[in-house]
Structure formats: structure tokens, C-alpha cells
């Protein structure tokens, strides 16, 4: 059995999972919108005229303006010449990748969201904010296409939720266009080697990334006691422990190591790392993500 086939199986299961998730799209969107409402961004995007495709405004003709810019149709209606201005279009695009592995389809308690849900909500909310700011954004997928504006959000949302891309495929699927940024939302439960490969690839492209580390509270605190068999979600592997509490310290140590390693890796590459527990309010994380985008921008 080769690895690719294994991945394919995984891919299919991810897809079904994502489809199930997509049924909740309106709900997720609503949650994302709610989330965004709570966030006062403080900046108003790029609401100014510039090089872009969309109409921005009509302006009186000045002599400096090129004659070709005159909008004759508009000018004909009145007795004054108008120039049609397009909205400024930034060249930088934000690419979202949400991890859809089985490990993400986990929640330890009923009232908590699945990790993948939390990831999607964060991505969608960020997307909404970007819509507000008129930024270009898109989801990493086979036909990666970035756009901006409310209309594109729909497609983005759909892709985020229902077109999962395995982590290992990122190296081949990441768009190579200039001036893009990546938001990677995952629990990053991969081998360090794999993580390094992807991160190095992004760095080699000269891009920056935001690592959003999603974790369930039990992964953070490991509250288990007694005899228990721990089963992985993405494999049939399991671990049976007689006294779960005995390994807590060690586990926490390892989890912290993993987090620190991610954080260090991010800071080394001048990336942003933010950690999100599904039990904590998403607003906090969202603002972190958004402002990190802003900061980088300015």
C-alpha cells in the first residue's frame, strides 16, 4: 500500500466530512458574521480610488487627467466632464487553508465546536473582514482563484468548507503568484519534517504565513484519569494506559514543546503564530489574525 492511496482514502473521508460540514454553511456563516460584528476593525479597508476593476466614483475632469479617462456617457448627461475612477485594487492576496483531517473532526464536549468548525469559522470571519476591507482572498484549492468583494465570498466560503486539501498537497497547490499571504488553520499534528517541508516551501516562495493552531481543551489539559484506551482519529492506532493521570505531565510537556516549536518556527520566519482553543472565544483569535494581516500590510 503506497502512501498516495492512503492519502486518497483520507481525502475522501475528509471530503465527506467537509460535505457534512458544508450543510452547516449558513450556520457557520452566521456565526462568522456574528463574530465579525463583535470586532470593530477600526480601519476601513481601502476605500479609495485606485487601480482596480470595480467602479469607485465619478470625479470632475482635471486638466492633468488623460482624455481617455473621461467617461463620456456620464459627461454627456451633464454639462461637465467626468472621469470614471476605479477602486484601488491591491495586488496582495490572502490564501486560506483549513486542515480537514480526521483529527480536526474532534470535540471533547458537546457544547464545544469541532476543531474543524472552529477553524472554518475563523477562516470565514477573517474572510468577511477581508471583504469589508476589499482585500483579495481565496481558498487554497485545485483551481485556486482569488478575488475580492462580497460575491466572491460565497465561492470562498464554499471552497473553505467543502474542498479540503491535504496538508501534504500544499506544496503543489499553493498559488505561486506574487504578493500573497497564507493563513494556515490546523492543529498541526504532523511530523515536524512534513511541517518543515511545507513551511520551507512557503518561505522559498518568499511569502509569509499566519499559523493558526487549533486545539481542543482536552488536548491542552489532558484531564484523563484511570485506565483508558486512547484511540487516534486518523488511524487505528491506540494506546492503553493503566493510569492516565500518570502520563499527564509528560504529555503536557510534549504538547507545550510542539506549541513552542511552532511558535519559534513562525517567529524565525517572521510569521505570525496564534493559538486557539476551541473552548475560548473566537473573537480574540480573529482579531489577532486580522491585525497581524493589517500590521504586515502597513
Amino acid at each position: 500500500m503506497d502512501v498516495s492511496k492512503e492519502i486518497d482514502v483520507e481525502y475522501i473521508s475528509m471530503r465527506t466530512d467537509a460535505e457534512a460540514l458544508s450543510h452547516q454553511l449558513p450556520a457557520l456563516r452566521l456565526q462568522a458574521q456574528q463574530l465579525v460584528k463583535t470586532l470593530n476593525t477600526g480601519t476601513h479597508g481601502r476605500r479609495k480610488a485606485g487601480a482596480g476593476e470595480d467602479f469607485w466614483q465619478f470625479r470632475s475632469y482635471n486638466t492633468q487627467d488623460a482624455a481617455s479617462n473621461i467617461d463620456w456617457r456620464q459627461s454627456a448627461r451633464q454639462d461637465q466632464l467626468y472621469i470614471r475612477q476605479q477602486e484601488l485594487e491591491t495586488a496582495e492576496t490572502v490564501w486560506f487553508w483549513v486542515d480537514h483531517t480526521m483529527n480536526m473532526a474532534f470535540k471533547s464536549q458537546k457544547h464545544l465546536p469541532f476543531k474543524v468548525e472552529a477553524a472554518c469559522i475563523l477562516s470565514l470571519a477573517t474572510g468577511l473582514l477581508l471583504v469589508k476591507g476589499g482585500e483579495n482572498f481565496g481558498a487554497v484549492s485545485k483551481e485556486a482563484k482569488a478575488s475580492h468583494g462580497p460575491a466572491s465570498f460565497e465561492r470562498f466560503a464554499h471552497e473553505i468548507i467543502s474542498s479540503p486539501v491535504p496538508f501534504q498537497k500544499l506544496t503543489s497547490l499553493l498559488p505561486v503568484r506574487s504578493k500573497s499571504r497564507f493563513i494556515l488553520v490546523s492543529d498541526f499534528l504532523y511530523d515536524r519534517k512534513d511541517l518543515e517541508t511545507v513551511f520551507d516551501y512557503i518561505t522559498s516562495l518568499g511569502r509569509e504565513a499566519v499559523l493558526v493552531h487549533i486545539a481542543d481543551p482536552v488536548e491542552i489539559t489532558f484531564p484523563f484519569e484511570g485506565r483508558a484506551e486512547f484511540k487516534g482519529l486518523d488511524s487505528s492506532l491506540s494506546v492503553t494506559l493503566n493510569k492516565s493521570e500518570a502520563v499527564r505531565e509528560e504529555y503536557l510537556q510534549r504538547f507545550e514543546n510542539h506549541r513552542n516549536w511552532l511558535r519559534e518556527t513562525a517567529s524565525r520566519r517572521d510569521w505570525t503564530y496564534c493559538f486557539h482553543s476551541t473552548s475560548q472565544s473566537a473573537g480574540q483569535t480573529l482579531s489577532t489574525i486580522y491585525f497581524s494581516l493589517q500590521e504586515e500590510k502597513n
Binding site: 486545539a215 484519569e225 492506532l237
Partner: protein, 915 residues
Amino acid sequence: MTGFLTGLSFTTPWILLALLTLPLLWWLLKLTPPSPKKISFPALRFLLEIEDKEKSSDAIPLWLLLLRLLLAALVITALAGPVLNKSKIGFTDGPAVILVDNGWTSTQDWPKKEKLVSNLISKFKEADRLVYVIPLAFSEEKIKSAFRPLTPQEMDSALPFLTPLSLAPDRSHLNRLLPEFEKLKSPEFFWISDGVSINANDAEIKAAFDRLAKLGPVTIYSGETETAPHLLLAPIVKTNSLELTVKRVSIQGASTGVIFGRNKSGKILFQEAYTFSESELATNTRVSLPSAIRNDLSLLQIKSARSAGSVFLMDDRWKRKSVGLVASSQQADTPSLLSEQHYLQKAFLPFYDIVQDDLENLVKQSPSFIALGDVAALSARQSSEVEKWVTNGGILIRFAGPKLSNSQSSLLPVTLRQGNRSLDGAMSWGKPASMGPMPENSPFANLQIDPDIKVFRQVLANPSTDLNEKTWALLEDGTPLVTSEQRGNGRLILFHTSATTAWSDLVLSGLFVEMLREISFLGSFSAQSQLSEQTFPALDLLNGLGEFSGSAHTHSLSAMPTPLSLPVDRPYPAGIYGNSIFRYAHNIGDGVKSYSNLSLATYSGQKSGLEEAEEISLKAPVIIGALLLLLIDILATLYLQGRLTGKVLFAQKALLFGLLFTSIFAASTKDLSAEESLNRLLEATLDTRLGYILTQNPAVDEMSKAGLKGISEKLRQRTSIEAATPLPIDIEKNELLFFPLIYWPMTSSFPGLSDKAVTKINKYLKNGGTILFDTRNQISPSVFASAEGQRLSQILDRLDIQRLTQVPPDHVITRAFYLMQAFPGRYQAGEVWIENTENAHGNDGVASVIIGSHDWAAAWATDNAGRPIAAVIPGGNRQREMSYRFGVNLVMYTLAGNYKADQVHVPAILERLGQ
């Protein structure tokens, strides 16, 4: 604890072999630790790294292992059916022979024994075993010879022949039955023993039971020997007192008791306490009684001892006779030791009241006896008066002496030769003569002859053909010492020697007193009756409990040489025998020579107490225990998995205790007895209702209910009696007083009545209630011989009921509402017995008991639509109508009393009123 363990046994012990698999289970459990809780965990990769270090030990904790082994052991034990106090019957499947000591010594624990026997019988019945019940005390030949298994019907009903008798158990009967036992295939024996041996050889009894033990297993049930009744022996009469002797069976420390003396009507005349000291087997007490009161004594009884051995019946023998002692003509200055008067007084005193007077005056007073010393001749007038008195029944006791020897008198039993015969003297070669054996026809026949008695002189009788008949005592040479002759109703008795020491030693001996005592028995019965009647029928016999049973006319004493010499081993129950003239009290105390414990411990066979501890199945508790352990195991597993925290723990604890309590309650709940509720009391009292006794047989109860409902309906339709729905009555629990008529269908298995219930019924009957007993069994040949009839008579025995008669043709019940002479129920013909109220006062002349076998309730019974339920036999509407009429008459009779009886006088009354 050992008691608990010895009481523990298993219904299917072989299942316990499964306990051998426990080591295997141990091994298996060690192999398979408790399953861990399963947790999905994304960050498994970290744990995988750790796992290598934290080697998960798969071993099950030792305490959990032990818990589970215990659980398994409990389940196995439960399956084996543990039973506490399992009655250990069933060594064999063969016939069961139940030997019952039902003598008077068995009475103290009798109810327990009865229960034990019926328990045993019902168990054997379940096991389809033949059951032989052999009472070891019996008085009837037929029981002695009958050796047959009980019929199924007998198994169900109480055994009528199994009652304590006032006899000693005859264990030698076993030897006679031994050939029969040998014929049985693998028999098993159960001896319900009283542990007492009376006049018997312990070794012989033991040998008999050892022989039984060879035939099959023997189980011996016995109570505490301390409970054996105190035995009241024949009292010894002293001048003005009675000396009472009480025996007990074994030395068991000090104990006390009280003896009552009662007169005929049951009044207590005296009460005397007695005390056994630590080591006494017998004790005496003396009660002072004026002779007048002593004459009234009819029985002695040890207080609250329910046994025939604790009762001593006193017949006429115990009454002090009065003897007239003719005052001597001797001078008053005769030294007393030379005076006849002195010796006669001393000799008569223990058994007679002595009246001293002139012969004439004595004859006028007409005592039973007159003792006449040595007198020469009586005047003709005296002679004729005495003769008349003797002919009327007086007994004249004369003594010889110098005067008599030289005179002639007609008042002698034999004609005497002139002069006396001197056996001792200077001129004689003879020696003083001793007494010879008593002739067999003599009342003295059973007296012990004292060889020291020497007779020096005597008067001799002229030989005659009837001399032997008349002779009551002889000298060794065959010459008469005492002769007697019947004269009319009375008797003449002559002692052929003097009443002083001048002629013989006889007056100095105890024999003389005994002879006089024997003579005293003659005072009230004539030898004629003794001769003509070879048997004394039983007048009133005691049962084993020391109560007059009043129903034992089948027993009789045959050929009694003299009452006192009645053989003790003969199976005659204690009681009063005789006829209207002579009453002879046969007492247990007379015949008991030895009264001791049987050392049952040395007997082979299993010993068991009388009171079988209740058989308790431990299956349920053990299963509950196993379930609890299972619960603990679950909790333990949860704990091991670390799921027991906070609330969960509390909830589970609550659940555990809840289960515990429910299980305990489930195990201990028994039906709460229904008490007489206020509602029921109101229901019973606010309307006139009929009642019926519940028999524990649902079919019978249902029929009673329907029947009484039917007749109540008819009463409402036809009469002014507004009878409401009848009520069922639990005889032990409910009050009877409210019901004018109670219908009591009798079943063969009707449970025995408690004393309380008997008191209640008696009170009800006394206060004017009427009970209609219905044995419902006219199909069977005889009403009273049937099982129902026997049960009925057992119950009636305990009730205060007058004599029963068949309903006379002019009885009020034949015309209380309808005119009728037959009383059909479901069955047409048959007798109806009713209490004879002719001479009774109170209750308005209403009989309190009516007994029949017609199954009236079935004839009356209607269903809800008013249709009759049971067919009448032989059938026809008329029969049913007549049965209704009987019901109406009966209720009318109980409610209206003999008012209807007065109606016969109506024509006369109307005439007097001038109509």
C-alpha cells in the same frame, strides 16, 4: 455460626462442583484485565511517544480479582440452591413410617408435634411416598392391628386417631410390627418421641429402635424433657389430711407447682403448692382437709399442666366412710391397750370417720358400716333392727372374742362351732398360725400378706359347702380368718379372731388397716353388680391432656377381679369407669412405677428438635449478594477507568443504596395481615347481613358468597328482611357479633381454630348468634364419618354447644315463614341436626347451631343475572324453591326467634278475644 452452618444445605449440591473451576477463572481473569474506557484523542502521537516508557501493566488488581471470584462463587452457590434449616427428610424414597408417642407424657408440646406430623405428611405426599402413621399409645385393638398407609384423603385432613391419650406409649408395639416393617421396601422411620419412659425397660426400647435402624434410617424428633408433665400419684389419706406425691421425670433443678382439688362442679376446694428441690425426683406435700370437704373432692389437678398424668380422679374409694363403732360395754377403766375400742379406732381412723354410740342409736343413724366388737348375744330387738339395716345395705363387721365364742348369733356369715381353737398354749402342741394365701374371690386378694402375723386363737366355722366362697382370708392351715356373707343388699363380715392382741397380732399389722380399707370399698357397691357385670363400661374418659373427652364409650374395662388390681400395662385410658351405682376412677398415677428419661442421645438415628426451624431459601439473598457484588464490580471498573468522580459517584452511591434497600424490602416483605377496618365494621353493622366463613378454598368461598347473595335477594323479595350483600368472615380476624346467621361450609382441610377464635365463636353463640354448618357432602355415605364430618366434630368439640337433635316435626324452623318438613339444599334428603333448645333459657329459644350436609349455598347461589349456578340433585324447580324456603325460614327463625312458635296458640287467643 456453627448453628447456621449446620442448618445450611443445598437442593442441588452437585452444582457446587463448579466451584472447582474457580482457579481457572482466576487464571482467565488475570489474563483479561478489565476493559479500559475508550477515548478518542487526536493528539495521540504524543501518547505514542510516551507509551514506550509508561508500560501499561495489564494485570488486574488483586482486590478486583478476588471480588470477581467471590461473585462467581456466589452465583454458583445460588445455583446450587442453598437452603437454611432444610428439613432433613429424604434419606430414601421408600415408605415413611411416622411413630408418634401420643401418650399422656407427650402433651406439653402436642401442638408442635401435631404440626410436625402434618408437615412431614405433606412433605411425603409431595414426594409421593407412602406414609404410615403409628400412634404408640392406643387403646383399641383395631388400631393395634391396622397397619396400612394413609389414604390421600387422610393425608389432607387432620388425623383423628392421632390425639394424645391418657395412656403410656407402648413402644413394644414396634416389635409386633417388625415383620410388617420388614416387608416394606427401604422404609424410613420418624419417631416423634416424648423422651420419657414409663414402667419400661430402657434397654428394650433401645433394642427395638436399633432393630428399626437396621431396616432404614431413623430420625428422632424430641422436645425438651423438662417439659414432661409432673405426675400426680395417688394421694395417701391421713386422718385429717391428704398427702400428695408428685413425681417428675428428671432432675433439672428446683421447680414448683400448685395442686388444685376440685369438686364435681369444678369448684376449687383447695390449692396447695409443692416444690421440688434441686435433686428431688419426687416430692410430697400435705394438705389439711376436713373430712366433709375431702368427701367432696372429685379430682386433683396440677395447675396449668395439660396432661392426664397431672390429673388424679377421686372416686368413692377416696371418700371417707363413716363407721359406727359400738361403744364397748367394758368398764371405762380398762387399760386402753387391752381395749378393742382402742385398736379398732386406730385401724379405722385412716379410712373412716368414726362415730361411737350405742348399737341402737347407730342403726338409727344408718352408717355404711358398723363395727361390732366381741359381744355375746344381741337382744332379739337389737338383732332384728341390725338385720334390717344389713338387708338395706349396711355392712356389719364383727370380731370374735371369748364372748362370741360361747354364744349363738344369727348375725354371722357362717355358723360357728362352740368354743374357740387355741393354737398356742401350755396344753397345746400347735404353734401360732401364720396367714395363708388370700382366696382369689376375696377383695383382699391383692393385699400383701405379712408373714409375721401370728394368730393364737380363733373361732372355727362349721364346715359347709359354701364356706370356701364365704372365706376372704385364711390361715395357713386353711381355716378361715375372715368370712363374709351377702345378706340382702348388705353384708356380714366376721373376723375370726379378736380385735385385741389377745388372740392374734393381726390388729397390730398394717394389713389389718388395708383389709379395713378394702372393706370400705364395699360400702357403696354391691358384690352382686360385680358378679353380674364382667365389664365396666367407660363413663367418662380423660384424653391425654387431662380433660374429659366425653366421647369414649367404646372403651370398657373387661373382667376386673378387683378394681385396684387393674393391670397397668393394659391399655385402658384413664377416666371413670363403672355404672350408675359404682364409679371406678382409673388413674395414671396408680399404675406408674417408674417414670424416667429415655437417654435418646444413645439411640442410633438422627436427632432433631420438635420445632423445625422455618425452611429458608437462601437463593434470593445470595443472588442479591451477587448482584450487589456485580454493582460493586461495575463501580470498581468505572473507578479503574477513572470515571468515578463527583456527581457520578454520588449518583451511583444513591443508586447502590436504592437497590440495596429495594432488595432488602423485596426479600422481607410479607403480606400484611388485613385488620378489621372501620369501613368493614360500619358495613357489617349498618345493615342486616348474612355472613359466611372463609374456608381458604376459593371455590367453596365463591359458592358461599353466591349462595348467600341469592338467599339475601329472596329475603328482600319475599319478606320484610332487607338483607344487604353478605360479608365474608375470616374466623381468626373478623368479628362475628354483627351477623344474625353465619353460614359455615366445612371442608376437610379447614384450618384449626386458635383459642382466640374459639372464645369468639363461643361468645357469639352465647349471645344469640346462629351458625349453619354445612358439610356439603351428602353424596358420601355418612355425614359424620366423612373427612368433613370429622373436621367438623373436631371443631365442634371445642365449642360450647348443647345436645343436638334431629329437627323435630314441630320445630319452629318448620314454620317460621313457610310450612315445610324437609330442608333440601343442593341435595334432597338427609338429616338436619339442630341444637336442642327445649330446656334452654335465653336466646329466645333459638338454636345456636344447625348442622346439615345439603350444600345449601350451592342451591341458593345465583349468578349476576339471577340464574342459578349449581344444579340441584335430583333436580327440579320445586327442590330449589324448597331450598329457598328453608333459607327464608332459617333467617326468619334466627331473627324472629320463637315468636312464630306462639302462633300455634293464635286460634285460642283469638277465641279468647271474642272474635
